[in-house]
């Protein structure tokens, strides 16, 4: 294991982010502000409370999760896809580093970016609603785990993708629906019978619920189950990545 190599790759990835810092940060902040204006101020005014929480505040954890998940996946997938696409990956492949070091660096950088953006969105939301986080440490833990696991997922997508269309496909067809149907903007308990049951198969429900619990102390599913779900998801991603490294799939012919 070479810490120098990991740190080098990590910093190089982060420098890409900082080169376009304004773009990287401004667009999530604007889109979040729009959500607050539409859902919080316009629609939210007609909704009293959700699970006993003012609607404007209720959507904050969901919004943060929404951004963090999509940012993790897109940064994670692009980060490793880009060197593959440009052909610069020959350097990592011929360097004295293992796949593990590459994953730590690239997924780590993607997770850092997502965490930064998530924090800024959280900060932005305090301009719109009053927030009082009940379990700040648990909130941080949920946020961090989500960043890491979805960055790993993004890494897998980046390895798998053979063109830019495929790179967009999974986030568009899988992640976005799961996140929107995962109770970001509503309580899944509001859904009628069968839809509620189906929702419980959506892993995002557990993440949003757990994160929301850290904020308000109320959850739709037990918080232990949420932790278990994110733990299992992280493990699954790691397992897939380990297999990719074993076989050199789509990387080393």
């Amino acid at each position: 294991m070479s810490p120098t190599a990991i740190w080098t790759m990590y910093l190089f990835e982060m420098s890409r982010f900082f080169r376009s810092l304004v773009q990287s940060l401004i667009s999530p902040v604007i889109s979040t502000s729009l959500y607050f204006v539409v859902f919080g101020a316009a629609i939210g005014r007609n909704i009293d409370e959700m699970d006993g929480i003012p609607y404007g505040a209720f959507i904050v954890p969901g919004l943060v999760m929404l951004s963090v998940m999509t940012q993790s996946v897109s940064n994670g997938s692009f980060g490793i896809y880009f060197p593959k696409f440009m052909g610069t990956i020959y350097e990592q492949l011929s360097a004295p580093v293992s796949f593990l070091e590459i994953v730590i660096a690239y997924a780590g950088a993607a997770a850092t970016k997502a965490l930064l953006i998530g924090s800024i969105i959280l900060l932005t939301s305090t301009f719109f609603v009053e927030l009082d986080i009940r379990h700040p440490l648990m909130a941080a833990a949920f946020l961090l785990l989500t960043c890491i696991s979805f960055s790993l997922l993004g890494f897998i997508i980046g390895i798998w993708a053979e063109n830019f269309e495929q790179l967009q496909l999974v986030p568009l067809l899988v992640i976005t629906p799961l996140v929107f149907l995962g109770g970001s903007f509503y309580s899944v308990s509001l859904l009628p019978g069968i839809w509620h049951t189906i929702s419980l198969f959506n892993p995002v429900v557990y993440l949003v619920s757990g994160f929301r619990w850290a904020f308000f102390g109320t959850a739709e599913v037990p918080v232990g189950l949420s932790l278990l779900a994110i733990g299992a998801f992280t493990a699954l991603c790691l397992l897939v990545i380990w297999r990719i490294f074993q076989t050199g799939w789509r990387i080393r012919q």
Binding site: S2, A5, M9, F82, S94, A95, Q253
Partner: protein, 307 residues
């Protein structure tokens, strides 16, 4: 002990294409080896297998005594690779990109070393430029700088002068000569024969996934080379005299020059006999000239033979 030892390496791609059909090759420390071969001969696959970009299907490769699969960290630390394609991140600045390559190989940050490499390749002035602002030749230099940033003992140059103009090609050869002086072993692939002729110590010819020969450049050319003897005549002739029909002479230059082609390997070159026969035929000579056939001729012969 050879610094690079390739032992019966075979590589079949998933598509079923057999790129290497059992290649064995030893490369001595400090030498410049040129691997010559037409497109699709297996040059890049061989280099990629040594450097860790492709996995050989069978066989063994040692670099500095380290197996490139089981002991890849120690093996790869010794290797610098300059790929054929100009693979560079368009928005990254030159200086940090070169420093990145050093760090990637686990080496301590060393701005002095990076500066030295950049200066050696005349890139110091461009250190803040982004890759996309550079010309093709400059990009090639950056790739070499990246490969040298971690002070490798073996440098692989895959078609280093493909698509590079003549002046820059000479520059590149000077860089290679400079590196050789520093004791770096250099393996380069090329299909420019003159390049191999100009800078290599040994030449390997590869085609169809097999090494056809590896030999000292001078001895290869001496052993296999054909020579041409040009006989310039005082008075032009209309046709080759019938008495000289056995020599396979070629008449050119408006009947003023006869060209005799002979094999330097054979015991008798036939020159003495030809000259006396020329005299007997009543031809008067103004000048004689011999020319060694180039590597290109040797190469074409070899590849043709195999086909």
């Amino acid at each position: 002990m050879p610094i690079v030892s390739v032992q019966d390496v075979k590589k079949t791609y998933a598509s079923g294409f057999e790129a290497l059909k059992g290649v064995s090759l030893d490369i001595e420390e400090g030498e410049i080896l040129a691997l010559l071969g037409p497109n699709g001969a297996g040059k890049t696959t061989l280099i990629s297998s040594i450097c860790g970009i492709t996995r050989p299907s069978s066989g063994r490769i040692l670099v500095g005594g380290h197996d490139v699969v089981s002991d890849y960290r120690n093996a790869r630390r010794l290797i610098g690779l300059v790929p054929q394609e100009l693979n560079l991140e368009p928005f990254a600045p030159v200086g940090p990109a070169v420093a990145f390559s050093r760090g990637l190989f686990g080496m301590r940050r060393d701005p002095d070393k990076v500066e030295q490499v950049l200066r050696q390749l005349s890139l110091w002035e461009k250190r803040k430029s982004r890759m996309r602002e550079l010309s093709g030749g400059m990009k090639r230099r950056v790739l070499i700088a990246k490969a040298l940033a971690h002070e490798p003992r073996v440098l692989f140059l895959d078609e280093p002068t493909a698509g590079v103009d003549v002046e820059l090609r000479r520059d590149m050869w000077n860089v290679v000569a400079e590196l050789k002086k520093q004791g770096v072993t250099i393996i380069l692939t090329t299909h420019y024969i003159e390049e191999a002729e100009a800078i290599a110590d040994r030449i390997g010819v590869i085609n169809g996934g097999r090494i056809l020969l590896v030999e000292d450049k001078a001895s290869l050319m001496a052993r296999m080379g054909r020579k041409n003897l040009s006989v310039h005549l005082r008075e032009p002739v209309a046709a080759v005299p019938a008495s000289l029909g056995d020599y396979g002479l070629e008449l050119c230059n408006g009947g003023r020059t006869l060209i005799y082609s002979y094999d330097t390997k054979s015991d008798g070159t036939g020159i003495t006999r030809l000259l006396s026969d020329l005299q007997e035929a009543g031809l008067s000579m103004r000048d004689l000239e011999t020319r060694q056939s180039s590597l290109e001729d040797i190469f074409v012969d070899l590849v043709k033979e195999q086909a």
